[in-house]
């Protein structure tokens, strides 16, 4: 096991990793920016280094300063969390060059899965069903030819993309030139990579993903699926749950089987997530995320497995301590993302000082957060303030518990998604389960029209 781990992140995930390390008896080193000097993750860690000013390029993405902090504090491993450098293969390589274990998959796998077009090709070769579409298209004309072949509507996607950036839905050929140019420009600006590909756009599919763990001795297990279909118009997830409600058991079994097959096919190690679109009885691989995900707690709560500890154990060379037969989900878990955003104004992010912070408690509630009363929300980072997770014996009990928990939550100083998500818990279609990714945008459009 490692002696000391540098946590190359901030916010709730930095605290989450810190907790896992301390429970494993591993010392921790936090990094922080000037803007995060008073942040909770700095106080929880055994040591902390300021690595730069507020803007991420100079702090949380400052590879030399982060590696240097790990070396001078005597760390033997780095946990990247999610976002920032989590899927940066170059960072993983540099860490290895300096004798530091990167807690995640091998750089070659990060690279292959990070390039969405390559990932799709590899999965297709492994017999995994992928959405009909193209490899990289060099021009608008090429994109048009592919789109006509697979039929509109289509989705233009940046191969380096993520978080909804560099992505455009196109309903007909007349929209293609503008959509191509703007999506490409966005991808260039966000990822310094403007290569695009085309995918068939499914009508309102469900977003269902499968959690896998793979050790370095050939052990591969899945930890079931999560339904992340409640997404903002920007395609960012807002509410996630496990297991996926009203899912045909045959489709569920198929998703699990595909996930473990694909994990083996790409020689994947550590924790990973395979994202699928499910439309009727059709299942399509979308992408594989080579990191711990924001919504991992819903899986942890129903499987009783600490995914972050497993990541650390796997990276330290340990074999999985359980097999597929040992893993059985119990109950139902739902997560709500509490973001500093205004749901009445296109989820515009907010920054400021939090005057009041009161989180819920009681049976079946887990809160992962880095905020406290008086904390400052800097303008530089992701707007997520907390994750509130409710677990119950049934989906209905988890929903009722979440509704109760959101009612107990008081955050003042910035606008948040708390009340909005509480309202969503009462939407009949959400209660029924099985909604698609178009559901929330449709609700928002309906509300906007009603005003």
């Amino acid at each position: 096991m490692f002696k000391k781990v540098l946590i190359a992140n901030r916010g709730e995930i930095a605290l989450r990793i810190n907790r896992a390390c301390h429970e494993l008896g591993v010392a921790t080193v936090a990094i922080f920016s000037d803007a995060d000097r008073q942040s909770l993750h700095v106080r929880h860690a055994d040591e902390a280094f300021c690595v730069g000013p507020g803007p991420v390029m100079r702090s949380y993405l400052n590879i030399p300063n982060i590696i240097s902090a790990a070396l001078i504090s005597g760390c033997d491993a780095i946990h990247p969390g999610y976002g920032f450098l989590a899927e940066n293969a170059r960072f993983a390589e540099i860490a290895a060059d300096h004798g530091l274990t990167f807690i995640g998959p091998k750089p070659a796998v990060i690279n292959a899965m990070g390039d969405k077009a390559t990932a799709k090709r590899l999965m297709r070769e492994a017999g995994v069903p992928t959405t009909p579409g193209s490899d990289i298209v060099a021009s608008v004309d090429e994109a048009r030819a592919v789109s006509e072949k697979i039929g509109y509507p289509v989705l233009l996607k940046a191969t380096a993309g993520g978080g909804g950036k560099g992505m455009r839905a196109v309903t007909g050929p007349q929209e293609l030139p503008t959509a191509f140019a703007t999506a490409q420009a966005e991808a260039e600006a966000s990822f310094k990579d403007g290569r695009m590909y085309v995918e068939k756009l499914m009508p309102n599919p469900r977003h269902i993903e499968v959690q896998v763990l793979a050790d370095e001795h050939g052990g591969v297990v899945h930890l079931g699926e999560r339904d992340c279909s409640v997404q903002k118009p920007s395609h960012q997830k807002l509410i996630e749950e496990a297991p996926a409600p009203v899912l045909d058991p045959a489709i569920r079994a198929r998703l699990h089987a595909i996930a473990t097959t694909a994990t083996r096919a790409v020689a994947y190690t550590n924790a990973g997530t395979l994202e699928f679109l499910v439309s009727g009885s059709d299942v399509y691989f979308m992408e594989m995320n080579t990191r711990i995900q924001v919504e991992h707690p819903v899986t942890e709560l129903i499987y009783g497995v600490d995914l972050v500890k497993e990541q650390i154990r796997i990276a330290a060379g340990e074999a999985l301590g359980f097999s597929q037969d040992d893993l059985h989900p119990h109950g139902h878990a739902i997560e709500v993302r509490v973001n500093a955003e205004d749901p009445q104004n296109n989820f515009a992010p907010a920054a400021g000082t939090l005057s009041t912070v009161v989180f819920p408690g009681g049976p079946g509630i887990r809160v992962d957060t880095h905020i406290y009363g008086g904390a400052i929300v800097p303008p530089f980072y992701d707007s997520m303030l907390a994750k509130i997770v409710a677990v119950g014996r049934t989906r209905e009990s988890a929903i009722l518990r979440m509704e109760r928990a959101l009612g107990e939550t008081r955050i003042e100083g910035v606008k948040t998604t708390v009340d909005f998500c509480r309202e969503l818990m009462n939407e009949p279609e959400f209660r029924a389960g099985g909604i698609g990714v178009g559901w929330l945008p449709a609700i928002l459009a309906r509300r906007a029209a009603a005003v």
Binding site: V51, G52, P53, S59, P64, N65, S68, I72, S73
Partner: protein, 137 residues
Amino acid sequence: MTEDVIAARARALAGALTEAGFARLRVRDGDIEFELRRAVQPGATIPAPVPPVATDAEKPSARRDDLVASDVVGIVRLTRPVVVEGLDLDGDRELAYVETLGIRNPVRSRGAGRITAVFVTEGQPVEYGQPLFAIER
């Protein structure tokens, strides 16, 4: 401590802050910790964070001084001849470098002045923004 007491103390400290010429002051009193910042005039240079040692009233030598801080994370290597408190600098010179992954990041005095404090020793690890020297201009 009630909010009134904190406010009264903060007001008293704010006066001292302006007098001493510090841009920032962090105070810890039991469970209470607060930071005071002086509004910066347009065009003025913003000094780096003041280390706890320099906020100490026993260190009047650090007053009205320029702080030279590290802008990287690494190990301090003092440039020879090593500067000491009280040394007068005729002009700009390299005081040290901070080694980050084998790269030397020079730390310069950025002009003449008298060294009033040396906050680091040879081989010490430093973080971003950590004061290394104070110079009276």
